[in-house]
Subunit: 424 residues, 2 copies
């Protein structure tokens, strides 16, 4: 399938934050041309889309989520964190089947498409079902193992790593464990060995709450980050989800090992976890990416909300309206996310890169006037502006309609039917 | 015009936070029926709308804004507050004509409609042009005078009050001054006298920043709220915009005089002003309403963002994920806003009330599953869910299309043309 987008503004994010007028071509999963309007004879296209001045840019990468947790959306809110986890989340999760996870993941992927998200870094159970949901939808998923004391094993993790990295072009698999507080030293040492064997980075929930860090120090005399380094787990880099309570030494470890901080401002806000040291992290040159976290704790999967919160909370923390400018935020959402997830071909728009892209409607009141398109996206952008979402060269969402191999109504019906059963 | 909405879920907010199945009728500007599906012969309608299970609720009230500041959106961001005001906002505002304000206000009103906002409490210059923009659009505006040392006069304010409260059913006018730090004691005394003469409440920017409160104490030995009470300005109540830095005594004054705190969490975040004492304010029984503030400081006019931020920032401040539950927030956005603005007939859905209402699309992934519709609205709702916005019995926005007596393209063109001139 060859597609031509013309009369476009294009924000390639290929080292340039100024939109340019021109066109972009795709041939199956690849971008084949990006540049000025072509006057002479073009190749034959299967479809030509007149963007009428609207904006093409790389899709957003949701760099930390638990997609299937859509089933808990608005079920257990306005509760203290521990009560939420112990009384609501864990007992309900115990009742989930693989088939449940398939349908709840599909629901999340629909929402990603409406928010311009073209890839998600997804930690949950039943990788087989997650991968099937992703491939059936046409969505790109990087799964990350959530190994802990209660599920899975190092052998299974190793098998999954090899299997899912050769499974389908839309699927990748990264090494990870749930968190220091749910994972034994022995398992963590196993992860470290696996990381060295597979030459693979390691990802985990890291320093999300103050209690987590204090607990870790009480258990082993080190912060979670310090412990990971001490266990030899960071030789191939990786990243931390949340990273709200990081010491200077922790950040130094991240810098030294080229690791990424994946910030989850919506979740950290709604669960009252805290506000990370974003401005300092950027000053140290540590890359940051952005995730929504799961829909049980956020509750929505909206990268526009996350972008505004990421910079807004940093401004509040620094008491400085100039902290963390919009350009940095958009870079995190589009480019850094891809790199941290192991998707270097999805980071920006350029010939040879994968065609994971979105179109934003600038002909909406929240995008006018056009004083600065980048600042409009970060400070006033909304899901409502997402006209089109393309992944791997396929248009999956356009003008409010889904082309995902299943009727939306079926997915909603399955989600509601299954949550009714689980609630009983 | 008689309209029937049927097959609806209806959240009347008339003392009840559970949506009910049924239908709602309007006759010109009034709601005439709300209740179960009617089986017997109905009156004749000009239009019957099958809502297919989607949600009818009262429109959101934007209880503090400066609509015409759309012209500064994304023009002066990521700057420290004082630099922003002195170098960007004030010099640009000096170049605004009444006609500019008309077009920039129309742009903001379009955005309100996309966000389900059915009325705005608007402080800006050129009330004549603001009122004309509102009436031409079909939008409901409560103007509030922004009297200060540099513009207008008490005489003009009094004239405007009488004139605009008898101008058009869509327009109201309330007494206000810009802020203590821009208004002389003499003028404030004049406002107090006017308030008593007209038996009218008084509104102002109050305790938005720490520096503002400290400055006021240095000038007169009282907080802004204390000063207002001392000047006899609060006999008929009123409200404060922002109220980020309120003392216990200030809040006691608000409680005693039945005043409303109008919170502006998006603006307070983006300008790094701070986080108000929301949970304590609610515990004291002081009503809160929500505003976007102007689009130069927010930058968008999106009540979904404001609702999430209002509770999210309170949760962070209290370190309690249970602080300020969703039901309270929706009450602020729909009901309290109307009451504080002097629109008691727009607060909820009931026969005899004005037909200011919206329809939210529940058949969207961010609204599924339907564990709790109210929590879905506050925690995962988005502009994208707004299917229809009706004001004073007229449908102004439906399925992405505007019926506002002007082409959107014309409004965008005027906005861009005018900002280009002002920037020069």
């Amino acid at each position: 399938m060859r597609i031509r987008f013309y009369h476009a503004r294009i924000l390639s994010m290929n080292g340039n934050m100024e939109p340019e007028t021109g066109e972009l071509w795709t041939d199956n999963e690849q971008i084949t041309y990006l540049g000025p309007e072509v006057q002479e004879a073009c190749p034959r296209f299967d479809r030509e889309v007149d963007l009428r001045g609207n904006l093409l840019l790389p899709g957003f990468k949701n760099a930390h989520t638990h997609s299937a947790m859509t089933f808990l959306r608005s079920f257990a809110d306005d509760l203290p964190l521990q009560e939420w986890l112990q009384k609501q989340v864990f007992p309900m999760e115990a009742r989930l089947s693989g088939e449940d996870i398939y349908w709840f993941s599909r629901l999340a992927m629909m929402e990603y498409l409406t928010s311009g998200v073209t890839a998600a870094f997804d930690m949950y159970f039943h990788p087989e079902e997650m991968a099937r949901a992703s491939v059936d939808t046409g969505f790109r998923t990087v799964m990350v193992s959530g190994l802990n004391n209660f599920n899975s094993s190092l052998e299974e993790l190793r098998e999954n790593y090899l299997k899912f990295n050769a499974f389908h072009p839309l699927i990748r698999y990264q090494l990870g464990f749930h968190a220091e507080y749910t994972t034994s030293r022995e398992l963590m040492e196993g992860i470290a060995a696996l990381s060295r064997e597979l030459q693979a980075p390691v990802f985990t929930h890291n320093s999300e709450t103050k209690a987590e860090v204090e607990g870790c120090i009480a258990r082993c005399g080190m912060t979670p980050t310090g412990l990971m380094e001490a266990l030899g787990m960071l030789e191939y880099g990786g990243g931390g989800y949340h990273c709200v309570y990081m010491t200077d030494a922790d950040l130094e470890v991240f810098r030294r090992h080229g690791m990424t901080v994946v910030s989850n401002p919506g979740s950290n806000t709604k669960l009252a976890s805290g506000v990370p040291r974003t401005a300092e992290i950027l000053r140290m040159g540590i890359p940051m990416a952005i995730g929504t976290d799961g829909p049980a704790s956020n509750n929505c999967l909206d990268m526009f909300r996350e972008m505004f919160l990421l910079t807004g909370l940093a401004k509040l923390r620094e008491r400085d309206a100039a902290a963390v400018p919009a350009e940095e935020v958009l870079q995190m959402a589009c480019v850094n996310g891809a790199r941290c997830m192991g998707l270097p071909d999805c980071d920006c728009l350029a010939p040879g890169k994968l065609a994971d892209l979105i179109v934003l409607d600038l002909q909406q009141p929240n995008m006018q006037p056009l004083n600065s398109i980048v600042k409009n996206i970060v400070y006033s952008g909304s899901k409502q502006n997402v006209m089109l979402t393309m992944i791997h060269g396929r248009i999956l969402y356009e003008n409010g309609r889904f082309d995902i191999g299943e009727e939306p109504e079926r997915i909603y019906r399955e989600a509601n039917r299954r949550i009714a059963r689980i609630k009983k």
